[in-house]
């Protein structure tokens, strides 16, 4: 039941002959009181609880492993249906406590710089499995922000991601402000369009190069949905004050931080309300790409700002436990299971 929307819970209640308000009660127990046992839903009649237990399970679980970084970042491992594994990263930073959730086991997108991409694709997470990463987090009550930047491409699992966003943001669910949630994509336009129409959460787009010819060598998706079409779609929706689009820009050594890149970024982002987040590349095994030094990133930021582009340098977090951007992978667990 965990991961069902209010409409679905109301349907479950009706199917079992429970009162029409029972759907809201179920939501309250699961998403506000975080109970892990139907038997503890004390405002449901004993008969209704028994019926629920006979036909349904809550289906949530606790992390099976946690690793803690020297910088305080924690990486949680979850076992999902079918013995597959996903990871979520909890990143405390001053008053900000961010959880980076996964939306798929592995990823189909094959980006050259990403560790998750190297494990291929093993399956979609359900809305329940996505929201469970929030529910079961020991630091759940401290959370200020959720980012869909863990394993997988959220817009390749649109239906379940949209359901999870509803549960996290609606009053019947976790009741979080959509402004506290960011969904990141490499630019799957049809799904991005649905998200922009139906959700108020923030959007982050993986950019990494303003030149389509360069970007397609890093991100195969460019062959299908080009950056220029992604930007046109974002412009079309003109987010306004409620929504901010951020562009994630991994800086690679000697590859994508020249003045030519600065000039082109200024040109293509004209007219979009945005922020560019600069991230240092975290090398992965066998990669032909390298990490730049701090000075190069700072010089790039200064050059962007001289052009009037709003940028932030994101500190690397959790690199020692492979929790930093682009490093999440459960290939090891999958391989062990296969053995």
């Amino acid at each position: 039941m965990f991961g069902s929307t209010l409409k679905e819970l109301t349907g479950i209640a009706a199917e079992l002959g429970m009162p029409s308000y029972a759907g809201r009660q179920l939501a309250e127990w699961m998403y506000k009181r975080h109970v892990a046992d139907i038997g503890r839903m004390s405002n449901l009649s004993k008969a209704d609880r028994k019926k629920l237990e006979e036909h349904y399970a809550l289906g949530n679980s606790d992390p099976v492993k946690v690793q803690t970084s020297v910088d305080g970042t924690k990486k949680y491992l979850y076992q999902s249906v079918g013995g597959r594994f996903v990871e979520a990263a909890y990143i405390p930073e001053g008053k900000r406590h961010t959880l980076c959730v996964s939306s798929q086991v592995g990823c189909k997108m094959g980006c050259l710089f990403c560790m998750t991409g190297k494990q291929g694709f093993q399956g979609q997470l359900t809305a329940g499995e996505i929201v469970n990463q929030v529910r079961s987090l020991p630091e759940r009550d401290l959370l200020t922000n959720i980012v869909y930047m863990g394993m997988g491409e959220p817009f390749d699992n649109l239906e379940e991601v949209m359901k999870s966003l509803e549960i996290l943001t609606e009053d019947y669910g976790f009741g979080m402000s959509p402004k506290r949630i960011t969904v990141s994509t490499i630019g799957i336009i049809p799904a991005m369009r649905v998200f922009l129409e139906k959700s108020s959460c923030h959007l982050a787009v993986s950019l990494h190069s303003p030149f389509e010819e360069e970007r397609r060598k890093l991100m195969p998706i460019e062959h299908v949905y080009s950056l220029s079409e992604v930007l046109s779609t974002i412009r079309e929706f003109s987010p306004g004050k409620q929504r901010r689009t951020s562009f994630e820009y991994i800086v690679f050594k000697d590859l994508n931080h020249s003045q030519r890149h600065v000039n082109e970024l200024a040109r293509i982002l004209n007219g979009i309300r945005y922020r560019i987040n600069l991230l240092r590349f975290h090398p992965i095994p066998g990669t032909p790409l390298a990490s730049p030094d701090d000075e190069s990133i700072e010089q790039f930021q200064a050059a962007l700002e001289r052009k009037g582009l709003i940028t932030t340098i994101r500190r690397s977090r959790g690199q020692d436990i492979y929790a930093a951007c682009g490093l999440l992978s459960t290939k090891g667990q999958q391989d062990k299971k296969l053995q």
Binding site: G106, G110, K118, G120, P220, I221, V224, P288
Partner: protein
């Protein structure tokens, strides 16, 4: 990019167990390597497919495998000649313009390369194609005729004359050297693309010479 155009199905043949070739009348121009969104009804699921036919052919061919739990392919496999199929405009940039290149595909990932070959772009190309069985080396005869010795079928679960016994990754690993001067185009599952790309890079190919199309 919505599947808002209709076309008449010419044929829809099962060419290997669970693998179909849908053929419908062509009413548009395209560049070999481009994709098209396909659907059966306006309220149902749609998916992107690379066109598998030549760009001068009278018909458009779409190669697909049926996912019994999927929202589209079971219905797609039920289409009969004369039925309507929905399609979008063509789009995408997985286009090979070089005189010489290596094409590497597995399974239905052969579609864009088949289209390129059937569009007359096969000269100067080497095609490495992996399939589990001989039946799953789609277009095997036609590709063999067009590319001759530059066509290298790899069959992982069957052994037969003229084919490398193993996966495309095994074949690539067995090579002492690869041509580092030419671009390599890859199409297949995420796992295949990532594995092949890693092998090519390990063998010294610059990542700028690898172009990949993925299934999603």
């Amino acid at each position: 990019m919505q599947a808002s155009f209709t076309a008449h199905v010419v044929s829809n043949r099962e060419i290997a167990p669970g693998a179909y070739l849908l053929r419908f009348k062509r009413s548009f121009d395209f560049i070999a390597g481009q994709v098209i969104r396909i659907g059966v009804d306006t309220s149902g699921e749609t998916r992107l497919y690379s066109i598998a036919s030549g760009n001068s052919d009278e018909n458009v061919d779409i190669l697909y495998t049926v996912n019994p739990e999927g929202g589209l392919t079971p219905a797609l496999s039920g289409l009969r000649p004369g039925d309507h199929v929905l399609h979008s405009e063509v789009f995408g940039r997985f286009i090979c313009r070089e005189e010489c290149a290596v094409w590497i595909a597995a399974g239905t990932g052969i579609a864009p390369f088949a289209s390129m070959a059937f569009s007359g772009q096969h000269s100067g190309k080497i095609l490495l194609f992996g399939g589990r069985s001989r039946q799953r080396l789609y277009f095997h005869g036609q590709l063999n005729d067009l590319l001759g010795s530059n066509y290298i079928p790899c069959c992982s679960r069957e052994s037969f004359s003229g084919a490398f016994h193993g996966r495309v990754t095994d074949y690539l690993k067995s090579l002492k050297q690869i041509d580092l001067a030419v671009p390599h185009y890859l199409c297949g599952s995420a796992g295949m693309v990532v594995d092949v790309r890693d092998i090519l890079i390990e063998k010294g190919l610059a990542f700028e010479k690898v172009f990949a199309e993925i299934f999603f």
